[in-house]
């Protein structure tokens, strides 16, 4: 027989009330956990979308003359500047302290070349990097393999009569590059080869219409284009994609600037930012709702504890009369409160996790996930206990102040 024995006996005796309190706190904590983990998951999803949306850092040479335009970014490389970017600069970017946060470094050389007799913008690229960066490209055909393989933009391919409208299902439409989900295009490739400059190149694939600059471009292997343009080792632009959950893009930009003092480094964060703001708003909303629900839970604990004290006036008075100190009464009641609120925290955490898993598909299409986070569990239980304890401080102190002589009177 210890003070805790009395507390446990009381919990057992008042199962209904204990259950009511546990579910009350559980609902509060569950709401908070669900909202919090939803916004955390959405935030993370946005992070992974950041690099799906392409480059968020563009490196160009310092230049005063704006010669060509690439995707809204001016490219100085085609004119003759003293500051050129080189293969070494691309390697330099991979050496910055934050290199682990870089998901793609895509160097490019741009120039105009005759393609089947027409002046066309040609980009020499590292195909592996480029295709990772341009995840929205729908590729018909294959990803380039050999050095002489090229990809044609949609308009270029049409002008070169390399494709024709495809009426039925695309028989030989791309199957090789699964990750680009080249769904059945409305065309098929009818030509195998194209002349770029003076050399014959194999058409590996055609990029489905994007409405962007790549429609009017040809993509070839970087070293081939460097040879073709007579600019070995030179680059016009380096596109960089940084993994960006909460990543300090500005810091990465600063580090690249340090590494490449002669280059122009700028961050672009467009549409994703708007979504991030929406998630920020969701997070703030979650906090407010959680606070309100928790406050209601706290109020419930308060009233239940108050009525428990009234209900137990006699019992507490008897305990005081037979020698329990105030602190013993407080201890006994607090044991009950702590057990109930810890249970509420655990129940709430589980319920919140379940609820957020069920709700997540309604907020996002992509494969965002609710992770099991120990910190969240600890947080949920701690908040539950804090709520329980804070809201029972007054009732418990009141209980400890009960006058024993009053309580043991013949009623």
């Amino acid at each position: 027989m210890r003070i805790s024995t009395i507390a446990f006996a009381n919990l057992r005796r008042r199962k209904g009330k204990a259950f009511f309190l546990v579910s009350g706190i559980g609902i509060g904590i569950g709401t908070a956990v669900a909202l919090l983990s939803l916004s955390v998951s959405l935030r993370e999803e946005i992070g992974s979308q950041m690099d799906q949306f392409g480059a968020n850092i563009v490196v160009t040479p310092h230049s005063d003359s704006l010669a060509l335009d690439y995707g809204g970014v001016s490219v100085a490389g085609v004119s003759f500047d003293q500051h050129q970017l080189s293969n070494d600069d691309a390697a330099g970017i991979r050496r910055i302290p934050y290199r682990k946060r870089l998901s793609v470094v895509a160097p490019k050389l741009l120039g105009t070349v005759d393609v089947d007799g027409r002046r066309t913008l040609v980009a020499g690229v590292d195909f592996a990097s480029e295709l990772r960066l341009k995840k929205w490209w729908r590729l018909a055909g294959r990803a380039p393999e050999s050095a002489s393989d090229v990809l044609l933009g949609y308009d270029v391919a049409r002008a070169a009569s390399a494709i024709e409208p495809f009426p039925g299902t695309s028989a030989d439409a791309d199957k090789s590059s699964a990750h680009h989900s080249a769904a059945s295009e409305e065309f098929r490739i009818t030509k195998e080869r194209v002349t770029i400059g003076s050399r014959e190149h194999r058409i590996a694939g055609v990029i489905g219409q994007t409405g962007g600059p790549e429609d009017r471009m040809v993509f070839a292997q970087l070293s081939q284009v460097q040879d073709l343009l007579g600019r070995p080792g030179q680059l016009s632009v380096i596109e960089v994609s940084a993994l960006c959950k909460d990543c300090p893009v500005e810091d990465i930009v600063t580090q690249i600037r340090k590494e490449l003092p002669h280059a122009n480094v700028s961050a672009i964060q467009q549409s994703v930012r708007a979504r991030a703001e929406a998630v920020d708003r969701l997070s703030r909303f979650s906090l407010v709702v959680s606070a309100v629900v928790l406050a209601i839970g706290a109020l419930m604990v308060f009233t239940t504890m108050m009525s428990a004290v009234v209900e137990r006036t006699k019992e507490i008075g008897v305990l005081r009369a037979i020698g329990f100190r105030r602190t013993h009464i407080i201890k006994g009641l607090m044991i009950e409160v702590v057990i109930i609120s810890a249970a509420g925290g655990i129940v709430g955490w589980l319920a919140g996790l379940l609820a957020s898993r069920l709700a997540l598909p309604y907020f996002t299409e992509a494969g965002a996930q609710i992770e099991l986070r120990v910190s969240l569990a600890v947080f949920a239980i701690a908040i539950a206990m804090l709520t329980g304890i804070v809201s029972s401080v007054y009732p418990v102190i009141r209980a400890s102040r009960l006058d024993p002589s009053e309580a043991v009177r013949y009623v």
Binding site: M1, I6, V318, R320, G323, R326, H328, S405
Partner: protein, 241 residues
């Protein structure tokens, strides 16, 4: 000096609303010696329970002092006074005030709950007093599974478990029929014969006759004290007891 000294105690309850309360006890003084069995009698509302709770170190008198074993009880802090009750006093209430959700032995162990004793020692002591009141075989019963008289004995066991120098009882037979009431009184007499100091409030003259001394109270004032030696002598030869 007497074991218990009640020195000029007055008590006025301050009812909410009325600023001047009604005096319930007026200048009460008395002494209780060690091993004495004292009863307090008086009409309803005369202040018996009030005096008992003041003796019980849980009801602050408006005036006067209570000294038990040389300790000025109401000079102690609230928490110290709780310790004093745990150490010096055993209570038997008219309503018994047993915890309905604890079984007999747990109810008996209640006054030991906060003490730093080994669980096994607490149990041993509780069993010992349960034996003393004849409930050794009913240790695991809930109070609701005991008869009225057994509940009364259980309440006495709880009052004795901390081995208190002074036992206070407020009409311990009030809710019981004559036969079971007598049963309870016999336990008190037996305890007293082994040296237990007892102070008891009662309405019943037959019960009061078992004490060494009876205090009579009326309107908050001690009126007179009767010696019961003759009555006790008579009772000793009463074969029904």
């Amino acid at each position: 000096m007497a074991f218990v000294a009640v020195e000029n105690i007055s008590k006025t309850y301050n009812d909410q609303g009325s600023r001047i309360g009604v005096p319930v006890l007026r200048d009460v003084s008395t002494e209780i010696g060690e091993g004495e069995f004292v009863c307090l009698m008086g009409p309803s509302g005369s202040g018996k329970s009030t005096l008992l709770t003041i003796l019980g170190a849980m009801n602050h008198p408006s005036q006067g002092r209570l000294v038990i074993d040389g300790i000025d009880v109401y000079a102690l802090s609230d928490e110290r006074r709780a310790d004093f009750r745990a150490q010096y006093l055993g209570f038997v209430f008219q309503q018994h005030h047993l915890m309905p959700y604890l079984n007999a032995i747990e109810n008996v162990m209640l006054p030991l709950a906060a003490l730093p004793l080994a669980a096994i020692e607490k149990r041993r002591r509780a069993l010992e007093v349960l034996e003393k009141v004849g409930l050794g075989d009913k240790a695991s019963r809930l109070p609701s599974q005991l008869s009225g008289g057994e509940q009364g004995r259980l309440a006495i066991a709880r009052a004795l478990v901390n081995d208190p120098p002074l036992v206070l009882a407020d009409e311990p037979t009030g809710t019981l029929d004559t036969k079971t009431g007598d049963e309870i009184m016999r336990i008190f007499v037996e305890l007293n014969s082994r040296g237990q100091t007892i102070f008891m409030v009662t309405h019943n003259p037959a019960n009061a006759a078992l004490a060494h001394r009876v205090l009579h109270i009326r309107d908050g004032e001690l009126e007179w004290t009767s010696d019961t030696k003759e009555a006790r002598a008579e009772l000793r030869f009463n074969p029904t007891l």
